[in-house]
C-alpha cells in the first residue's frame, strides 16, 4: 500500500478542560477526496488547523507526505504549506488588497514568475472558480459565495497537491452551495489534488466525497465510502443523516417538537 498523503494518528487536542479531539485516526490517499462531517463544535476546524501546523497536538501527530508536521522546523513547515492550499471558512481574504493582489500574493512571494506570468496565472485561477473580471474589486465588494471562491483561487495559485476546505458552503444559499460543490469537484478533477472538505452540508458531502468521516464529540465515528456510510446502522450517524433533533447526538435534550396543534408527545 502506498504511503498516505495525509495521516492523522491518535490525534488529541484540548483547550483547557475542554477536549476537542480525542484519539482521531484518519488517512487520506493520493488523489482521494475525504469529507469530514460533524456538528458544530465537534472539532472539525481544529483537525484542519492541526494538519496545517497552526495548532500543536497534545498527543499523537499529523504526517503530511510521511513527515510529522509538529516536528518540522519553521522553514520545513513553510515548504510543506506551499504544497497545501487552505480555504478558510470565512475566506480570510486580505481586505486591504484587491482580488488580484490576493490571488497573486503567494505567486509574487514564492515563485520566480514575471509579473506578466503572474497575471496569466491569476486570470487562470479566477476563471477556474468562475470569477473572471473581478480582479480589481476589493473583498468588501464581494458577496459571501464570491469571497469563498476567491479564497479557493488564492489557495490553488501555487498548484498545491492538497486542498483543505473549511466549511466552504456554510451560510450560503442552496444554489450557491451547489455552485461551490461543483467548483470543488472541478478543481479535484482538473488538478487531480487530494482534498479534505469539512462540512455539515450533506448534499455536497455525498457529491464530493470518495469517503465520508463523521466526527462526534471529538472522536471519529466512521470513515466509509458514501453508500456504506448511508447504510451505517450507528444511531448517531442515522440521526445526523436524518437531521433530527431527537436522538443520541445532542448532550442536552432538545426542546419538545411542536405541531400547529400543540406539543407533540
Amino acid at each position: 500500500m502506498s504511503v498516505p498523503v495525509i495521516e492523522v494518528v491518535n490525534l488529541s487536542k484540548a483547550f483547557g478542560p475542554k477536549v476537542v479531539l480525542s484519539k482521531v485516526n484518519l488517512s487520506v490517499e493520493l488523489g482521494e477526496s475525504l469529507v469530514v462531517l460533524g456538528g458544530s463544535g465537534s472539532g472539525k476546524t481544529v483537525l484542519l488547523r492541526n494538519i496545517m501546523g497552526l495548532l500543536r497536538p497534545d498527543t499523537g501527530h499529523v504526517a503530511v507526505d510521511g513527515r510529522i508536521v509538529h516536528e518540522m522546523s519553521r522553514e520545513e513547515l513553510f515548504e510543506t504549506r506551499m504544497k497545501i492550499g487552505m480555504c478558510f471558512q470565512m475566506a480570510a481574504l486580505f481586505d486591504s488588497m484587491t482580488v488580484f493582489e490576493n490571488v497573486a500574493f503567494a505567486l509574487r512571494r514564492h515563485s520566480h514568475m514575471k509579473e506578466k506570468e503572474v497575471q496569466g496565472r491569476v486570470e487562470e485561477c479566477l476563471a477556474m472558480v468562475g470569477l473572471k473580471g473581478t480582479e480589481q474589486l476589493k473583498p468588501a465588494e464581494l458577496s459571501g459565495g464570491m469571497k469563498r471562491r476567491v479564497g479557493f483561487a488564492r489557495a490553488i495559485a501555487l498548484k498545491p497537491k492538497i486542498l483543505l476546505f473549511d466549511e466552504p458552503t456554510t451560510g450560503l444559499d442552496p444554489v450557491m452551495t451547489d455552485v461551490i460543490g461543483r467548483v470543488i469537484l472541478d478543481l479535484k478533477h482538473e488538478l487531480g489534488v487530494t482534498t479534505i472538505t469539512i462540512t455539515h452540508d450533506l448534499k455536497s458531502a455525498f457529491e464530493i466525497g470518495d469517503r465520508i468521516a463523521l466526527l462526534f464529540r471529538g472522536e471519529c465515528l466512521a470513515v466509509q465510502p458514501p453508500e456504506e456510510f448511508k447504510a451505517n446502522p450507528d444511531p448517531v450517524i442515522q440521526q445526523f443523516l436524518r437531521g433530527d433533533a431527537d436522538g443520541p447526538f445532542l448532550l442536552d435534550p432538545p426542546p419538545p417538537k411542536r405541531t400547529p396543534k400543540g406539543v407533540n408527545v
Partner: protein, 258 residues
C-alpha cells in the same frame, strides 16, 4: 489567609513574566527577520507613508502648540527676576532635549502604534494572519518588519521636524508677542544646545520608534476574542508604549548625558 495572597501574587508575577517573555521573543524574531528574503519594497514604502509622511501634520501642530505654550511659561517665569533673555536659551534646550522627542513619541504611539495594533488585531480575529501562515509567509517577517523599519527611520526624522517647528513656535511667541529681537532669539536658541543634544534627540526618536512599532504589532498579533479584543488592542498598545517611552526617556537621558 496568607496562602491565597501569595498564590495570587505568584500568579500575577508569572503572568507578567510570561508577557515580558512573549514580547521579548517576538521582538527578537522581528529583529532576526529584518535581513531575511523576500524583500518587499512596496510594503515597506507603504509603511513609510503611513508612519512618516501621513504623520507630519500631527507632529507639526503638536510641536508648534507645545513649544509656544512652553515659551509663554518661560517668558512669564523669567520675567519674575528680569531675565527674559534666558527664555530663548532654555526654550532651545527644552525643545531639543525633551519636548520634541517625547511629544513626537507620545503622539506617534497614539497615531501609529494604535493603528498597527488595530490593523493586526483585525487581521488576527478574521484569520488573515492564519491565512498568511498557510500561504507559507511568516507574519513576523511580512507584518512586523516593515512596520519596525518604517518607525526606526521615520521617528528620528519626525523628531527633527519637531525640533525645527519648535524653534519657530518659540520664535512666534517670544519675538512677535514678547518683543525679543529675532537676531537675538536665533542666536540664543542654540546657545546652550550642543550637537550632542541633537544626537540624543535623534537616538530617543530611534528608541521610541522601536517601542511604538514592536508594542503596537505585538498587541495586535496577540489579539483574542473578537470585537472586544480588537477594541482593547489599540488602547493597551498606546498605554504600554507611552509608559515605556516615558520610562526609557528617563534612562536614555541619564545614560546619554553622562
Amino acid at each position: 489567609m496568607l496562602t491565597p495572597l501569595l498564590e495570587r501574587t505568584g500568579a500575577t508575577v508569572l503572568a507578567v513574566m510570561e508577557e515580558a517573555g512573549d514580547f521579548a521573543v517576538l521582538s527578537g524574531r522581528t529583529i532576526g527577520s529584518i535581513f531575511r528574503r523576500p524583500f518587499d519594497g512596496a510594503n515597506l514604502l507603504h509603511q513609510f507613508q503611513a508612519v512618516g509622511v501621513n504623520s507630519i501634520p500631527v507632529v507639526v501642530l503638536t510641536s508648534l502648540a507645545v513649544s509656544m505654550v512652553f515659551a509663554v511659561q518661560l517668558s512669564f517665569g523669567f520675567k519674575q527676576f528680569q531675565a527674559e533673555g534666558l527664555a530663548s536659551q532654555v526654550e532651545g534646550l527644552a525643545v531639543v532635549r525633551e519636548l520634541a522627542p517625547v511629544i513626537t513619541g507620545l503622539m506617534m504611539s497614539g497615531r501609529v502604534g494604535s493603528a498597527m495594533a488595530a490593523e493586526l488585531g483585525t487581521m488576527q480575529v478574521t484569520e488573515q494572519i492564519d491565512a498568511l501562515e498557510c500561504l507559507a509567509t511568516d507574519p513576523i517577517h511580512y507584518l512586523f518588519v516593515p512596520r519596525l523599519l518604517a518607525a526606526l527611520v521615520m521617528l528620528p526624522l519626525l523628531t527633527a521636524i519637531a525640533v525645527y517647528i519648535g524653534y519657530w513656535g518659540g520664535y512666534l511667541l517670544l519675538v512677535t508677542t514678547q518683543g525679543q529681537s529675532s537676531v537675538v532669539y536665533s542666536a540664543e536658541f542654540y546657545k546652550l544646545v550642543e550637537l550632542r543634544d541633537l544626537r540624543i534627540a535623534l537616538t530617543k526618536g530611534l528608541v521610541f520608534g522601536a517601542i511604538i512599532a514592536l508594542v503596537g504589532c505585538w498587541k495586535g498579533y496577540r489579539t483574542r476574542g473578537g470585537a472586544e479584543g480588537v477594541g482593547n488592542a489599540p488602547t493597551s498598545s498606546v498605554v504600554t508604549s507611552s509608559l515605556w517611552i516615558l520610562v526609557s526617556d528617563f534612562f536614555l537621558t541619564k545614560l546619554l548625558l553622562v
